[in-house]
C-alpha cells in the first residue's frame, strides 16, 4: 500500500484568504493512503522544504502531493524537495488550488470544498504513479507539420527559423486552408488575406522548410524522436518548377474543384414532409442568393424558427456557403434559430412608445408571462420580444400579438389581452 504525504500551501494570503487550508489538510486523512497531511504558509520556502523532507523521512512516505500554485511555477521545486527527501522525481504531484481555485472564486465555503476535491484528484493520480528514471535517447532533429492551414504554416515557419529541418504536408493543391476562404477574421475584422498571404510566401521561401502539397500521410510509425512517416505525393502531371500557380488549368478543368469538396461532410437528410414544404417555398422564387432573405422569411413564418438542417439545405439549393445563410439568420432580428412560441408578442420600443410608457408595458408583460424580453415560455405558448417601431406611433404604446396590433395601452390592460390568446 502506498504512503502519501499531502502538503497544503497558503501562498501567503493568496490561497488562504479564500480557502480554509487547515480544513483541507485535515480532510485528506479520510483517504486511506494518506499517512500525513499538513498546511504551511509558504511551502516553497526553505522551512517548507525542510517540512517536506523531514516528513518524508519521519513517516516513510513514498508519494507526495503539494497543493499550491501552478505546476508551471513550482513543480520542479517540489519534485526536487521530494527527491532530496528520497522520493522518486515522478512520485510528486501538484494540485493547483490557487490559479484554479482561490483566485477565481468568491465564496469561501464553496472554494474550500473545491480545493478538497482538487487535492483528492491529485492524490488519486499520484496513487497510480510509478517510479521512473531519466535516460537519454538519440533523436532525429527534424520536424514534420501535417496540414498547411494557418496554424501549420506558422508552426513550419517557427521551426524553420529555429534552424530545424521541417517538412510541411498538405493534402490540397495549395496551402492556406480555411483562412484562405475567409474575408475577415474575428473579432477585429482584420483582412484575412493580409495575415495569411505573407505567411504563405514566408513558409515557401524558408530554406529549412520543404513543402509537399497535394500529398497525404499514408503511414506513421516509430516513436517520439524517431518517427517514420510515409507520404504519398499525388500525381499532378505538371512540372512543378515551371508552374507559377496561375490557376488557368484549374479554371479550364472539366472536373474542377474536386479537390476542395469535403466528402466527409454530413449529408443533409430532411424528413419527407419538411423536404416537400421547403421545396414548395423555394419553388416560388428563383433559386439564387438574392432570394435568400425572402425564402428564409417564408421558412421562419412556416416553422416559427429556422431549423439547422433546413438552413443548410437552403444554402445548398441556392448554391451559397452555409456560413452566408447562417450569417443572415443571425444578423436579422426576425430570424430565430430556436423555436418561437405559438403566440408572438411584439412590444414596440420606438421613441413615441418609449416616452409614452412602453418600458412599463414591457415590465407588465414580463411579470404576466414570467419571462424576459426575447424569451419563450417553457410550454412554447408565448414569445416576448421587443421591436423597434411598428409604425403605429400615434397609438403609443403599442404591442402586437401574432401581428394584431393593440394600441393606447396601460399596464393594466395586459392581462386582459393575454387572456384572449390563452
Amino acid at each position: 500500500m502506498s504512503r502519501i504525504g499531502v502538503f497544503i500551501c497558503w501562498c501567503g494570503a493568496n490561497i488562504s484568504y479564500m480557502v480554509d487550508c487547515p480544513k483541507v489538510a485535515k480532510e485528506m486523512y479520510r483517504h486511506p493512503n494518506v499517512i500525513f497531511s499538513t498546511d504551511y504558509r509558504y511551502m516553497c520556502s526553505d522551512p517548507g522544504r525542510d517540512l517536506i523532507m523531514n516528513s518524508i523521512k519521519e513517516y516513510n512516505l513514498d508519494r507526495v502531493v503539494v497543493a499550491s500554485c501552478s505546476p508551471r511555477m513550482h513543480e520542479k521545486t517540489f519534485r526536487s524537495f521530494s527527491q532530496a527527501g528520497g522520493v522518486n522525481w515522478y512520485m510528486c504531484e501538484m494540485a493547483n488550488i490557487r490559479d484554479q481555485c482561490s483566485w477565481c472564486h468568491s465564496n469561501y465555503d464553496k472554494a474550500t470544498q473545491k480545493a478538497i476535491d482538487l487535492v483528492l484528484m491529485a492524490i488519486a493520480k499520484v496513487n497510480k504513479n510509478k517510479p521512473l528514471t531519466k535516460m537519454k535517447a538519440p533523436v532525429t532533429n527534424r520536424a514534420m507539420v501535417v496540414g498547411g492551414g494557418i496554424t501549420g504554416i506558422q508552426a513550419a515557419i517557427d521551426l524553420g527559423i529555429a534552424g530545424y529541418e521541417t517538412v510541411l504536408v498538405e493534402k490540397t493543391p495549395s496551402i492556406g486552408g480555411k483562412m484562405a476562404m475567409l474575408d475577415k477574421t474575428f473579432p477585429t475584422l482584420d483582412c484575412s488575406a493580409c495575415i495569411l498571404t505573407p505567411k504563405m510566401v514566408e513558409v515557401a521561401q524558408n530554406e529549412n522548410v520543404t513543402m509537399h502539397t497535394y500529398s497525404e500521410i499514408e503511414e506513421v510509425g516509430g516513436y517520439i524522436g524517431n518517427f517514420e512517416v510515409k507520404v504519398r505525393k499525388k500525381a499532378r502531371s505538371i512540372d512543378e518548377d515551371e508552374c507559377t500557380g496561375c490557376g488557368l488549368c484549374a479554371s479550364n478543368c472539366l472536373v474542377k474543384n474536386i479537390a476542395y469538396v469535403d466528402k466527409k461532410r454530413r449529408a443533409i437528410e430532411l424528413e419527407p414532409a419538411d423536404l416537400e414544404k421547403i421545396n414548395n417555398i423555394i419553388k416560388n422564387y428563383t433559386a439564387s442568393a438574392d432570394n435568400l432573405l425572402a425564402i428564409m422569411q417564408d421558412i421562419q413564418a412556416e416553422y416559427r424558427y429556422i431549423p439547422q438542417d433546413i438552413l443548410r439545405y437552403v444554402a445548398e439549393r441556392l448554391n451559397i456557403p452555409a456560413a452566408q445563410a447562417y450569417n443572415i439568420a443571425t444578423f436579422f432580428s426576425i430570424f430565430s434559430l430556436t423555436p418561437k412560441g405559438e403566440n408572438v408578442v411584439n412590444v414596440c420600443l420606438g421613441t413615441a412608445c418609449h416616452v409614452k410608457g412602453a418600458p412599463m408595458i414591457m415590465d407588465a408583460l414580463e411579470r404576466e408571462l414570467g419571462i424576459k424580453d426575447g424569451e419563450t415560455t417553457k410550454d412554447l405558448k408565448y414569445t416576448l420580444q421587443s421591436v423597434r417601431c411598428l409604425g403605429c406611433c400615434a397609438l403609443a404604446p403599442v404591442i402586437t400579438v401574432n401581428g394584431v396590433a393593440h394600441g393606447n395601452l396601460k399596464s393594466g390592460d395586459i392581462a386582459g389581452i393575454l387572456k384572449q390568446y390563452a
Binding site: 475584422l189 439564387s288 442568393a289 438574392d290 432570394n291 435568400l292 432573405l293 425572402a294 428564409m296 422569411q297 441556392l318 451559397i320 452566408q324 450569417n327 443572415i328 444578423f331 436579422f332 432580428s333 426576425i334 430570424f335 420600443l349 420606438g350 421613441t351 413615441a352 412608445c353 418609449h354 416616452v355 409614452k356 410608457g357 412599463m360 415590465d363 407588465a364 411579470r367 421591436v387 423597434r388 417601431c389 411598428l390 409604425g391 403605429c392 406611433c393 400615434a394 397609438l395 403609443a396 403599442v398 401581428g403 394584431v404 396590433a405 393593440h406 394600441g407 393606447n408 396601460k410 399596464s411 393594466g412
Partner: protein, 621 residues
C-alpha cells in the same frame, strides 16, 4: 385591359370617379394598420351586419388612414348629393346606431367628427366642416391628399385623382433629359433624411457607366417614431409606383426594387396589389402605355435591421448578404446594387414626382423655403394632444406644428423638447420653437430633418433617459463592422446607464463628449457618424439634467427608477382603491374611502399605480 392612349386613361378616370362617388350611398371604413389597431375590423364587421339587417343597398368600401390616427377607427358615409361625413372613434354599437339612422333616412350627427364639402356643400347639416378642424386646416396636404380618401387597392380610383397622367405626359411628350431638368429645377430633395437633391442624383445615375441601371424605393422606415412611408404605401401605393416608373424612364432603368420593412405587412400587401394591378393595366412591365419603355418592379421585404435603411446596407441585403454598409468613397449612383448604377430614393420622394410633373415646377417651387421646396410629412407623436401624420409646407415653424396643428401638450403639462430626425437627430428645447422647419435650419441648431419623426416630450420625459434610449437602440442596431460604432456606442450606453442609475461621475460628461466626437469623425456610415447626436443635443440643451442625475441623484421627470420613489398623497387620495387593485406587489393597502398607503419596501417602482390613479394622488419624486 391595357391602357394604350389618353383616351383609355380618360375612360378609366371616369370609371374611377364613379367608384369614389357612386350613385348609391357609400360607406368607407379606414383599414390601415393604425385603424386595425384600434378595432376597425370589428367596425367593418358591424357595418356589414347592420347593412344586411336593414336591407340597405349601399356600397361598402375600404380606405386607409387620413392622418389623424387619434380619432380612429374611422368610417365615412357619402350619400349622393350630400357632403362626405367622417365618423370617429367608432365601435360596433356606434356603428349600428349610425347605420340605423341612415336606413331611416336621417344623418347621424352624434358621432360625426367633420364633413368634407368636396362635391357638394350643405350648410344645413350641423357638423363641423373639414376646413374648420385645427388639425387639418393648417396643413398643406399634397402628397397625402388622397390618403384615406381613395381605396388603395383600386387603380381606377387612383387614376380618378389624375394618377398616371404624369406618366402618360412624360412618355409621350418629354425626353428623359427634360424630366431630370424639371426635377432638378423643382428643388426636390430626398425625404429619407439626407436631403440630397433628387435631380442631381438621377442625373449622376443616368450618366454613370454600366448596365443595367436600377431604381430602388427605400421603404425600410426604421426610424422609431416615424411612419409616413407606411401610411403612404398603405394609403396611396400607386403614387409611389408612378414616381418610380417616371424616374426609371428618366434614368434609363428597366428594373427596380421596393424594399419594405417586414414589420409593415399591410404596406407589403398593398404595394404588391398595386404592382399587379398596374401590370394588368399596362402601366408596368413591358411596353408601358404602348411607348416601348419596359420597367419591372420587385418587392423585397426587410428582416428587422435598422441599418438596412442605409443605402449600401440595403443593397447588400437585397443581394442576399448581411446588411453591412460600405465606405462611401464610391457613390451608389455609380456603383450600387450588384455594383451597377443605382438610384435610391425614399417613398415620400418618389410620391412627390408625379405631382411635380402634373402640376408644374412653378407650382412646386412656390411651396416651401429657399433651400427646401415642397412639403414634408411629419409623424407628430408623443406627448401631444393631436397625434397623427401631418403634412406642412417647408418652413412652417415647430410652434405652428406643435401648437396649431398638434393642439399643444396634454393635461396642460409643460413642453420640454421635441425630438426630430430619429436616432440620428436631436432634441430641441422651447427656445427653438420658432425656427422654420426645413433641411438646413434644423441642421443648424443641431438636429436634423430625418425621415420626419417628430416626438414631443413634456416635463415627465427625462432627457438623459431619452439619450440612453437612443443609444440602447443603436447598440442593438449597429451592424458591428466598424470599431467606433461597435465599441463606442456600447461604452456611451454604459455611461448613460450609470448616470440613470445614480452612479454617474462628473467626468462622465467629458468622456461622453469625447466619445461622441470620435464617433462623428471615425464611423463608417451615417448610422455611426450621427449616433452621438441624441447625446450631444441633450448635453447641449439639457446639461443641467445630467448634472442633476450625477450630483443630486435626482430625476425630476420621475423616470429613472433608481432615483425615484413612489408615494401616495393622502390629501389627494380619494380612496378608490384602483391602485391597490392593479399593484402587482400588493404594496398598496388601505380602506375604501380613506387615503391608501404605499409600503416602499415592497414597491418595485413599476408605475402601475401612477397610471391607474385618476386624481394625481400618486407622487413620483
Amino acid at each position: 385591359m391595357k391602357i394604350r392612349s389618353m383616351k383609355d386613361l380618360e375612360k378609366i378616370k371616369e370609371e374611377g370617379k364613379r367608384l369614389i362617388y357612386p350613385e348609391k350611398t357609400k360607406i368607407t371604413i379606414g383599414m390601415s394598420t393604425c385603424n386595425i389597431a384600434t378595432g376597425s375590423e370589428n367596425v367593418l364587421k358591424a357595418v356589414e351586419e347592420t347593412v344586411k339587417r336593414n336591407n340597405l343597398d349601399v356600397v361598402i368600401s375600404k380606405s386607409a388612414c387620413m392622418g389623424f390616427c387619434q380619432i380612429e377607427p374611422i368610417m365615412d358615409i357619402i350619400q349622393p348629393g350630400k357632403p362626405r361625413i367622417i365618423y370617429q372613434k367608432l365601435n360596433p354599437l356606434k356603428v349600428s346606431e349610425i347605420i340605423d339612422d341612415l336606413s331611416k333616412g336621417s344623418i347621424n350627427t352624434k358621432y360625426a367628427f367633420y364633413k368634407m364639402d368636396i362635391k357638394v356643400k350643405d350648410d344645413s347639416i350641423n357638423i363641423t366642416s373639414y376646413k374648420d378642424i385645427g388639425f387639418y386646416n393648417k396643413q398643406e396636404k399634397i402628397v397625402l391628399e388622397y390618403c384615406g380618401i381613395i381605396d388603395p387597392e383600386s387603380i381606377e380610383e387612383y387614376i380618378a385623382t389624375d394618377g398616371y397622367f404624369a406618366l402618360h405626359k412624360v412618355l409621350t411628350a418629354a425626353s428623359p433629359e427634360q424630366i431630370i431638368e424639371n426635377i432638378t429645377k423643382s428643388g426636390l430633395r430626398g425625404r429619407g433624411g439626407g436631403g440630397f437633391p433628387a435631380g442631381i442624383k438621377w442625373n449622376t445615375t443616368k450618366r454613370a457607366p454600366g448596365e443595367p441601371k436600377y431604381v430602388v424605393c427605400n421603404a425600410d422606415e426604421g426610424d422609431p417614431g416615424a411612419y409616413m412611408d407606411r401610411s403612404l404605401l398603405e394609403g396611396n401605393p400607386h403614387s409611389v409606383l408612378e414616381g418610380m416608373i417616371i424616374g426609371a424612364y428618366a434614368i434609363g432603368s428597366s428594373e427596380g426594387y421596393v424594399y419594405v420593412r417586414t414589420e409593415y405587412p399591410l404596406a407589403v400587401q398593398n404595394i404588391n396589389i398595386a404592382i399587379s394591378r398596374a401590370k394588368e393595366m399596362g402601366l408596368l412591365g413591358e411596353n408601358i402605355l404602348g411607348s416601348g419603355f419596359n420597367f419591372d418592379l420587385k418587392v423585397v421585404r426587410g428582416a428587422g435591421a435598422f441599418v438596412c435603411g442605409e443605402s449600401t446596407a440595403l443593397f447588400a441585403s437585397v443581394e442576399g448578404r448581411v446588411g453591412e454598409p460600405r465606405a462611401k468613397y464610391i457613390r451608389s449612383a455609380e456603383k450600387g446594387l450588384w455594383d451597377k448604377p443605382t438610384n435610391l430614393n425614399n417613398v415620400e420622394t418618389w410620391a412627390n414626382v408625379p405631382l411635380i410633373i402634373n402640376r408644374g415646377v412653378k407650382w412646386y417651387t412656390d411651396i416651401g423655403t429657399e433651400g427646401s421646396k415642397g412639403t414634408k410629412i411629419f409623424s407628430l407623436v408623443g406627448k401631444i394632444n393631436n397625434t397623427g401624420l401631418v403634412e406642412v409646407s417647408m418652413g412652417a415653424t415647430l410652434r405652428q406644428i406643435i401648437y396649431d396643428i398638434g393642439g399643444g401638450i396634454p393635461k396642460g403639462r409643460k413642453f420640454k423638447a421635441v425630438q426630430t430626425g430619429g436616432p440620428s437627430g436631436g432634441c430641441l428645447p422651447e427656445e427653438f420653437l420658432d425656427i422654420p422647419v426645413d433641411f438646413d435650419e434644423l441642421t443648424k441648431v443641431g438636429s436634423m430633418m430625418g425621415s420626419g419623426g417628430m416626438i414631443v416630450m413634456d416635463d415627465r420625459t427625462c432627457m438623459v433617459d431619452v439619450a440612453k434610449f437612443f443609444l440602447d437602440f443603436l447598440k442593438d442596431e449597429s451592424c458591428g463592422k466598424c470599431v467606433p460604432c461597435r465599441e463606442g456606442v456600447v461604452q456611451m450606453h454604459a455611461i448613460l446607464t450609470d448616470i440613470c442609475n445614480g452612479v454617474g461621475k462628473e467626468e462622465d460628461i467629458e468622456i461622453l463628449t469625447d466619445l461622441s466626437l470620435t464617433l462623428k469623425d471615425a464611423a463608417l456610415c451615417a448610422l455611426g457618424t450621427t449616433a452621438a447626436n441624441p447625446v450631444l443635443s441633450t448635453l447641449k440643451h439639457f446639461e443641467n439634467e445630467y448634472y442633476e442625475h450625477i450630483r443630486d441623484k435626482k430625476c425630476c421627470a420621475g423616470v429613472c427608477k433608481e432615483l425615484v420613489t413612489y408615494a401616495i398623497d393622502s390629501e389627494k387620495c380619494k380612496g378608490c382603491g384602483l391602485c391597490a387593485k392593479d399593484c402587482p406587489q400588493d404594496a398598496i393597502t388601505g380602506e375604501k374611502g380613506k387615503a391608501y398607503s404605499l409600503d416602499i419596501s415592497k414597491c418595485v417602482k413599476c408605475g402601475v399605480c401612477f397610471e391607474a390613479c385618476k386624481f394625481e394622488a400618486v407622487i413620483v419624486k
